[in-house]
């Protein structure tokens, strides 16, 4: 009988993983420890090795599926054991029966899904059901309410739906990656130039029309069409007045749904051809996608899962669990800038790129030693505050997959150069997603450098269950009063968020003051 390989616990506390890639196919011979699949969990991509040597019998999930830990991922005919010749053995047939059931279920739910979709488009007869308050909100947010899919009873469009749609539209048109991962997401250790959005402009009617070189667009003033047809036209981004038709009703040109769809498809094809011609070697997604619909351009749905969802869950938990208070201040870091300038070439000689971050980390640790309340977590179960006598500092890092916080352990015991190289390495790993779960865990305090992208103050969200996070603004030359005179100085803003359950505002301010002393005069760190 085949060995059923269940998705193991790929990291502590991980309940499920998304199957990203299969490295094997049924019939493949495999060795023990050979990689079967790549699974994206909680925070990282994990290779799942085979526990046995043998032949792959059946893959139970498809790429893109979310697999709960403990579910059978793959069955393997183990070498040396007898492969069941007869699938009709009791066990196997049971398994098969289960499969069939699962399959029908899946088919059913699929059918349900399509039905539900059908509902949305046709049953409402071209009408959007939404309260006046939701309509008004849509107008305020510049959302065409006809394009919002409703989550309320019967498909009613709620205020939440409108907001979600507005946010979606916004994130589609602003940045393509590093989307709003809470306020800390802006954290990047290097300034990343924000990429220009490549696409995702709503398919304006005019736009489609001008592109559609191969489809003869009609150009009527007025066209009869049922509301349902108009809705479909709206969805596929077609102006009914442009849809060619010979049919008339009451003497007016009449267009039905089929005509609209036909025209939309023709336009799509034409547009795809245009794009191809324009882009040459650059493969246009629309041309290769299975069914390029204009709807897909108007809005795009991405599963909320994996790293994105982890970030979201984490932010949500933090924000809703820990009452945040943020303390803002400014510090003259001219001394720090000079110190770094001085040390930079030395570091370079050893092949290390010295940033400000290691200095800040050292300063933070020095201040934490004076204010241990900020190097804590709250054990809610036991009603105890856990004071950490070690200093593991997480540094928020923007990656393509979203925000990650790699942790540098024992910062108090490491020198600037070591911190620098460790941090650079961790950031690199986070970016190419080779970072291990261990390297993302165990932090006691976090730093986010939102200033790297630009911004004076932000409200960092605490990396729960830690109780404090330091946000750094950009270092800029500003007028500064020193000894009664206004002089240009290098000034940095800092924003410290604390969990007010554990830490009080006065303490936060005191910590910040101490931290600023170290930043102002880094030579103080030598005393550490």
């Amino acid at each position: 009988m085949a060995f059923e390989f269940k998705l193991p616990d790929v990291g502590e506390g991980v309940a499920e993983g998304e199957l990203v890639t299969w490295h094997v196919a049924p019939g493949d011979a495999i060795e023990e420890d050979q990689v079967l699949a790549e699974v994206e969990t909680d925070k990282a991509l994990v290779d799942v090795p085979s526990p046995k040597t043998g032949t792959i019998r059946e893959l139970r999930f498809e790429e893109g599926d979310v697999v709960p830990v403990g579910d059978v991922l793959v069955t393997i005919d183990v070498e040396g054991e007898e492969p069941d010749a007869e699938p009709e053995t009791t066990d196997a047939s049971q398994a098969d029966a289960a499969d069939v059931e699962a399959a029908t279920k899946a088919a059913e739910s699929e059918a349900d899904a399509t039905e539900a979709e059908g509902d949305e488009t046709s049953a409402t007869g071209g009408r959007v059901f939404a309260a006046p308050s939701a309509r008004r909100l849509a107008r305020e947010l510049g959302v065409d309410i006809e394009t919002v899919s409703g989550s309320g009873p019967g498909g009613r469009v709620t205020e939440m739906d409108v907001r979600a749609s507005a946010e979606e539209a916004e994130s589609e048109t602003t940045t393509s990656d590093s989307d709003s991962a809470g306020e800390t997401a802006e954290a990047a250790s290097d300034a990343e130039s924000t990429e220009t959005p490549e696409e995702s402009q709503p398919a304006g009617n005019g736009q489609t029309a001008t592109r559609a070189t191969q489809v003869q667009a009609a150009d009527r003033e007025q066209t009869l069409a049922t509301p349902a047809t108009r809705r479909v036209a709206n969805e596929v981004g077609v102006d009914v007045n442009e849809v060619p038709t010979d049919v008339t009703r009451d003497g007016e040109p009449f267009v039905d749904e089929a005509a609209v769809r036909e025209y939309a498809e023709a336009q799509q094809a034409a547009q795809a051809a245009d794009t191809e011609a324009l882009a040459g070697e650059q493969e246009p997604a629309a041309a290769t996608g299975a069914e390029p619909t204009a709807e897909a351009e108007r809005e795009r749905r991405e599963p909320y899962k994996g790293v994105r969802k982890t970030i979201g869950d984490q932010m949500e938990r933090s924000k809703y669990t820990a009452p945040h208070v943020t303390h803002h201040d400014k510090v003259d870091v001219t001394g720090l800038v000079e110190a770094r300038e001085k040390l930079k070439p030395r570091a370079e000689e050893r092949g290390i790129k010295l940033t400000y971050m290691p200095f800040v980390m050292k300063a933070v640790v020095a201040a934490l030693k004076e204010y241990p309340d900020l190097n804590t977590s709250l054990d809610e179960e036991n009603d105890e505050i856990v004071y950490k006598n070690y200093y593991n500092v997480g540094v928020a890092t923007a990656t393509e997959a979203g925000l990650m916080v790699p942790v540098v352990d024992d910062v108090d015991r490491k020198g600037l150069l070591q911190l620098s190289s460790e941090l650079n390495e961790l950031v690199e790993k986070a970016r190419d997603r080779s970072i291990s779960l261990d390297e993302l865990r165990g932090g006691t305090f976090s730093i986010t450098n939102f200033g790297a992208i630009g911004g004076e103050y932000a409200t960092p969200i605490i990396n729960y269950p830690e109780t404090a996070i330091l946000g750094l603004g950009a270092i800029e030359e500003r007028p500064w009063v020193k000894d009664g005179e206004v002089v240009p100085r290098k000034v940095m803003t800092v924003s410290l968020s604390i969990d007010h359950r554990v830490i009080d505002g006065a303490e936060a301010a005191a910590f910040t003051n101490t931290l600023m002393e170290y930043l102002e005069d880094p030579t103080l760190l030598l005393l550490e």
Binding site: T124, R139, G154
Partner: protein, 474 residues
């Protein structure tokens, strides 16, 4: 007033102080605009002075007498006398109170009121012409203008309004005695409301209508309830006749009407009331000074935001198109003001209710079943007859029904038709249901006060779901 021309400036010039104009002016004032409201005749417009309010005042007053007179079954024996002069005086006091109120509200919102007729000089300038010649005029420069000039009754050729024999609805609301014999031309809502009232006052009313039923535009079963009641009251209906002319006689007048074969019928009368519809007023405005081109029917065409084709000019209310109803005018007034103030407002309401204050009343909102079907829905209908309503029985008024139309798939409420006492009030709930995207269950499962007519609405919704308690479920 100063003789000669004076020029002043304003952010928003509102032309016409009916329910469209005065509401627009108040809202614009609330939003911090410098607003000038110009009215050529009477603040409050048709609605407050010659329309909704006075007609409803007379209808309600008359019903007091009517109910008392027909309450023998309830053990009341009375023969009230109607003193029309007294009634009209009371009605005028109501109107005065309301129109004064409108002026106060405008002033409180910082709106400057000007009496006079506004006509466009160009798309940013209007001249205010004051009554009489040689009064001088002033010119107002405006950033935006809102045209709210309303509508006036349509005249039937051969029946020019003279206020004594040939009456407009406005004249009819200010008579000092009840005519013995009244001929009403037109069985639309205004004709039906006034005919019913005069019949109840003691007049002998004949309604002459070109089409073959009363209340054209309403569903047959809805109109039938009202027509039957009107006939019970003693109103004669003459359908399929077009009024052609009239003549004075020794004891009044004779009204002639012609059927489609050219056959003439004659009706003796003291007065004839012409209520064949209303037409938009644009000829007071010198629209030629702008690029606005009224439609074939005389309306100023507008978009969802009440904008006319001309950037600086908005139009609202009766002059901006059907339905010519006061609440539509007011809603548009708010929208226009908000849009001018830069807010993202738009007339995107799903339904505009309408009420007819006949006996019983009619209230409708949204789609009929047929309209829903045409719009691509698969409608389901629920109905509740008033004779099954405890409240209707206890009011001794059981003709009519509440009908609700919903989408069969999603069960969203799409429309309602109510013929019942207080239908004008009952319809509000269904309007809210439609705007909120309520489903039948939402209304059916809302607890309604007992004993009230509103329970009929709840039951109609339940009926559509096959679970009404007090009527057979289909």
């Amino acid at each position: 007033m100063v003789v000669g021309d004076v020029t002043t400036g304003t952010d928003v010039l509102v032309i016409g102080a009916g329910p469209g104009g005065y509401v627009a002016a108040i809202r614009a004032g609330q939003l911090g605009k410098d607003v000038t409201l110009v009215e050529a005749d009477a603040f409050g417009g048709v609605c407050l002075n010659y329309g909704c309010i006075p007609s409803k005042a007379l209808i309600s007053a008359t019903d007091v007498a009517h109910h008392a007179r027909h309450a023998e079954r309830m053990g009341i024996h009375a023969d009230p006398a109607i003193d029309l002069t007294g009634m009209v005086n009371w009605k005028d006091s109501v109107v005065r109170r309301l129109t004064k109120g409108v002026e106060k509200l405008c002033e409180n919102a910082g709106v400057e009121l000007i009496e006079g007729r506004a006509e466009f000089v160009d798309e940013h300038k209007a001249r205010i012409v004051h009554g009489g010649d040689g009064q001088g005029s002033e010119t107002i420069e405006f950033e935006h203008a809102i045209v709210a000039t309303g509508s006036r009754p349509i005249e039937v050729p051969g029946f020019e309004f003279d206020g004594t024999h040939v009456l407009s609805s406005r004249d009819a609301l200010s008579l000092d005695t009840v005519p013995e014999k009244l001929v009403t031309i037109g069985a639309g809502y205004i004709g039906m409301e006034l005919s019913t009232t005069f019949q109840k006052m003691g007049a002998d009313v004949t309604v002459v209508e070109m089409l073959d039923d009363a209340l054209p535009g309403y569903e047959d079963d809805v109109a039938r309830v009202v027509r039957d009641r009107a006939e019970d009251l003693g109103i004669d209906f003459e359908f399929g006749l077009a009024a052609s002319d009239w003549e004075r006689t020794d004891d009044g007048m004779v009204v002639r009407a012609e059927d489609e074969d050219g056959e003439i019928s004659e009706f003796a009368a003291d007065k004839v009331l012409v209520a064949v519809g209303r037409q938009p007023v644009t000829d007071t405005l010198n629209l030629d000074a702008t690029d606005i081109e009224p439609t074939e029917n005389g309306f100023i065409e507008t978009d969802e935001q009440c904008r006319s084709g001309v950037e600086s000019i908005f139009a609202i209310g009766d002059v901006a198109g059907e339905p010519m109803l006061a609440h539509k005018a007011s809603a548009e007034g708010e929208i226009a003001a908000e849009v001018i103030a830069g807010e993202p407002a738009a007339m995107d309401q799903q339904a505009i209710p309408a009420a007819v204050f006949t006996d019983p009343e009619i209230g409708t909102v949204g789609m009929t079943s047929e309209e829903a079907e045409q719009a691509g829905f698969d409608p389901i209908v629920g109905q509740f007859p008033l004779r099954a309503s405890g409240r209707a029985l206890s009011m001794n008024d059981t003709d009519g029904f509440v009908r609700v139309v919903a989408d069969g798939d999603s069960e969203f409420v799409l429309g309602a038709q109510i013929v019942a006492p207080e239908a004008s009030e009952l319809i509000a709930e269904m309007g809210l249901a439609i705007e909120m995207g309520a489903q039948l269950e939402d209304v059916a499962a809302t607890i309604h006060t007992h004993p009230t007519l509103s329970e009929a609405t709840m039951e109609a919704c339940a009926n559509a779901l096959g679970k009404a308690i007090h009527t057979m479920n289909r």
